[in-house]
């Protein structure tokens, strides 16, 4: 701080006065606020980020989204439909009670019983058909059918204390557990049930303003470097960067792309960045009557694989990454970057405008057609600018393209009603492996299997569905990866979901702090360390 006027300097000192041990406090400016502190209320990024400080899972994911032990020390598939988890001993909840298998049972029971949950975690617990606990530190989890993703799914939800919530006697029942009452979301928001096993204890929470956590001195794992952590939601981009530059906060999530150069040149700021699990893609709809294509006498040219290939060839991914994303992205050739489970090194995409024109002519559209490309303008990094660039690239090969950019909530509603023939969107694979995008984006919508939940293209390839079926029933990790790699090759070759780029997640922090950037984009205070 520079003090030029004594009076103002005194004011500034006053302002800084009430925080004694600055050295061990970390203040983080977050780009979004959790909708509740209840770990099971809303299956949403900011909520999971908040819960990971207080509540832990059996299994967790490291910065590269590979599974690692957390409250379970080890696990194995006993047979095709039974998993055994050995629980860590000597783990204490924040109220001093010991963590046992019953806490897991109670947690799984509570998840379907959260009142008013807008999006619950039942997607991740419905694979569980039965739970047995031969002793307090062993869990035998039964699944109805072979279920290789069980450990991944167990990493998505945090475990609450059965004792604190009065659930010591609750037993698991696939049809619905019995309890006199279930803890309310309010009891978590006001702090009374914020009792987890995590490295931080809940201290206070003022909605819209800040959440304060303090170090858990009895944590089983390595002690975090911070006595106190303050999370402040600063949802507007500019003010968030300003808060860091002004020293109000020590670290911020996702600074806007256009400010990254400036932050790089600031003397007291350092950046950390990593490839995320999110791919930005174009989806091509193959409906019989295309909603936003004209000049084809009502026919849908996208039903022709040649036309789809042409559109994919028209896109210059390197140019998008370099000029629009300012380097804060990587060109994508499939749905998850190299290094992620299921990535197939043999899958490639190419850029060739001449070939694209030739393919269009072969398909019977030498003069092209008109197309409207739908995109959100406030959901992904520079989303509408990327769409504009794609539109120009399409237009260059003869497909006259307009962009319809709207705010995310309007876009998603229109997209979900299939009002676009072509749209731009993103997919973050929460599971960190390839079955997630394949299942959601391109598999045929089949309710019972949970396939095609985000497939708004009307595309259906039974053979691809079959490949997924097999992969998702193969417990052997190496075999399953081969199957997924084959499936992603088939999917990318179909040119229905055209990958554009992988977003890169950036953190900016005071010099002197270091953070291992995470592919899942979570900001975890326990992993922030003062650099040595």
């Amino acid at each position: 701080m520079k003090h030029t006027l004594p009076a103002v300097a005194a004011l500034a000192l006053l302002a800084a006065a009430p925080t004694p041990s600055q050295a061990a406090t970390l203040t983080v400016g977050t780009s979004a606020e959790p909708s509740a502190l209840d770990p099971h209320y809303h299956n949403l990024g900011p909520n999971t980020r908040a819960r990971k400080h207080v509540f832990e899972s059996l299994v967790s994911m490291d910065a590269k989204m590979r599974l690692q032990p957390e409250l379970a020390e080890s696990w194995r598939a006993v047979d095709e439909t039974t998993w055994e988890f050995k629980l860590r001993k000597g783990v204490k909840f924040h109220d001093g009670t010991e963590f046992t298998a019953q806490d897991f049972v109670y947690t799984v029971c509570r998840i379907p019983n959260v009142a008013n949950s807008p999006s619950s975690f039942t997607v991740y617990t419905k694979g569980i058909a039965g739970i047995e606990a031969p002793d307090p530190h062993t869990l035998l989890i039964k699944t109805g059918k072979p279920y290789p993703l069980l450990p991944v799914e167990l990493s998505t939800f945090g475990i609450i204390s059965a004792k604190a919530a009065g659930g010591e006697a609750v037993t698991f029942d696939k049809a619905g557990c019995k309890a006199e009452s279930w803890p309310t979301t309010q009891a978590f928001n006001d702090g009374s049930l914020m009792i987890g096993t995590g490295p931080f204890k809940h201290k206070s929470y003022t909605k819209g303003d800040r959440q304060i956590l303090e170090r858990n001195p009895d944590y089983w794992g390595p002690q975090p470097a911070w006595d106190t952590v303050v999370f402040r939601p600063i949802t507007s981009d500019g003010p968030r960067v300003a808060a860091l530059l002004a020293g109000d906060v020590d670290m911020i999530e996702s600074p806007p792309v256009q400010d990254i150069e400036r932050l790089k040149s600031a003397p007291n700021v350092s950046l950390a960045q990593a490839q995320s699990n999110r791919v930005i893609y174009l989806a091509l709809g193959v409906q019989d009557t295309p909603p936003t294509i004209t000049g084809t006498e009502g026919k849908n040219p996208l039903k022709d694989p040649k036309v789809r290939k042409a559109l994919s060839l028209a896109v210059d991914r390197d140019a998008i990454v370099k000029r629009i994303m300012m380097g804060v992205a990587e060109p994508a050739n499939q749905y998850l970057p190299a290094g992620f489970y299921g990535n197939n090194p043999e899958v490639t995409v190419a850029t060739d405008a001449n070939k694209a024109k030739q393919l269009l002519a072969e398909a019977g559209y030498p003069k092209g057609f008109q197309l409207t490309l739908g995109t959100p303008n406030d959901r992904y990094i520079n989303d509408d600018k990327v769409a504009q660039a794609v539109a120009q690239m399409f237009t260059r090969i003869g497909v006259q393209t307009q962009v319809d950019a709207t705010t995310a909530n309007v876009f998603f509603s229109k997209r979900n009603k299939q009002e676009y023939s072509v749209f731009l969107a993103g997919w973050g694979a929460d599971s960190g492996e390839m079955s997630s995008p394949l299942k959601a984006l391109i598999a045929t919508p089949i309710k019972e299997k949970g396939y095609g939940t985000t497939n708004y293209t009307s595309y259906s390839d039974p053979e691809l569905d079959g490949m997924l079926d097999t992969a998702l029933a193969t417990v052997d990790d190496a075999k399953r990866e081969k199957l997924l790699q084959a499936a992603v090759k088939r999917a990318v070759d179909a040119d229905i979901i055209i990958p554009l780029h992988y977003e890169v997640t950036v953190w900016a922090m005071k010099k002197g702090l270091s953070y291992e950037p995470r592919a899942d984009q979570y900001t975890l205070a326990q992993k922030v360390t003062p650099a040595k």
């Binding site: 520079k2 303003d209 600063i234 003010p239 300003a242 808060a243 985000t454």
Partner: protein, 325 residues
């Protein structure tokens, strides 16, 4: 007086009902909340369950009737996003916004009236011209930009004041307030100034125009001729008479400051109602948007009522509501 208040309350009730219909229909027309709320990983069953849980599977008129039914019991619905009563969520944020708005109005009045008086008494002086030019800037610069500039100057470059947030708060009457702690006060200065700029210009202009008009009136000339001290002439005879339009406009403007502090609250990450409104619109949290708008309507109604009452105190010639017609 009583008749007047009762009649005003009846009129206000009509306004509130009309607003609730308009707001409900309006918010209904934008997007589908479920598309924003639900995790993309969720399957079709989970989706259907969430839609049913939020009551979105019912036709609009049915949703509206359910809303009216519970609204009559004082329940404006449950926030889709936060799962808690929407009205509580809005009221929880109210003190922060009120505090900011009152500080802004205080800045506007404390600076605006003397500056306006000065500019009115000495319209051709350099100071008078500077004040008027400044007020034009205050009118025309966009709040968002000024806010960012204030942050860049006073927080980032000079490091004197914090860039945003509410700082430390202390409790008074069971509510948390920032102005009671030094840290909170430091956090309050920039946003309050940012929000005050427009109102400040308005007060300056009103005060100046009033002063110029009043200064030429016979009673002012008479007061001067009687040999009253200039300070008394200005302080009593002029000031009291220019306050009538100022109070009226400020009363109305207090409502708009509270309702439209949205921009300042976003720029300074101030956890008030405005920021809640923006976040709720983005997430299509319909009950919260409706609760916010209804609270705002009520606020305007109450403020207007108070303005009318104060007005009659300042100028006894004005009678309320034709009680003695």
């Amino acid at each position: 007086m009583l008749v007047f208040i009762l009649r005003r309350l009846a009129q206000s009730a009509v306004v509130v009902v009309a607003m609730s219909v308009l707001v409900f229909a309006g918010i209904f027309a934008i997007g589908n909340p479920i598309d924003v709320l639900i995790s993309p990983e969720a399957d079709a069953f989970e989706r259907a369950a969430a839609i049913a849980r939020l009551g979105l599977d019912k036709p609009m008129h049915e949703q509206f009737l359910r809303f009216v039914d519970s609204a009559l019991g004082g329940d404006l619905g449950t926030s889709f996003v936060h799962g808690v009563p929407a009205l509580g969520l809005v009221l929880q944020r109210f003190p922060a916004t009120l505090e900011l708005a009152l500080c802004a109005m205080l800045v506007a009045v404390v600076l605006g009236i003397p500056l306006g008086l000065w500019a009115g008494l000495k319209p051709d002086s350099l100071a008078g011209r500077v004040i008027m030019t400044g007020s034009i800037l205050g009118f025309s610069l966009p709040t968002f930009w000024v806010g960012m500039m204030l942050i860049m100057a006073f927080a980032v470059t000079l490091g004197w004041l914090p860039a945003g947030g509410r700082g430390e708060t202390a409790s008074l009457f069971g509510v948390q307030w920032s102005f009671l702690t030094a840290d909170g006060l430091a956090h309050l200065i920039l946003p309050a100034v940012n929000l005050a700029l427009f109102k400040l210009s308005l007060v300056i202009r009103l005060a100046r125009a009033g002063t110029r008009e009043v200064a030429l009136q016979d009673y002012v000339k008479f007061a001067r001729a009687k040999g009253l001290a200039p300070a008394r002439v200005v302080g009593v005879h002029i000031l009291k008479n220019i306050m009538i339009p100022v109070v009226t406009v400020l009363g109305l403007e207090l409502g708009s400051v509270i309702a439209f502090s949205v921009v300042t609250e976003s720029v300074f990450a101030w956890p008030g109602m405005g920021k809640l409104l923006i976040d709720s619109i983005l997430q299509l949290d319909r009950p919260v948007v409706i609760a916010y708008l209804l609270v705002t309507v009520l606020l305007f109604v109450v403020i207007n009522l108070i303005v009318d009452l104060v007005y009659s105190l300042l100028d006894p010639r004005i009678r309320l509501g034709g009680g003695r017609a």
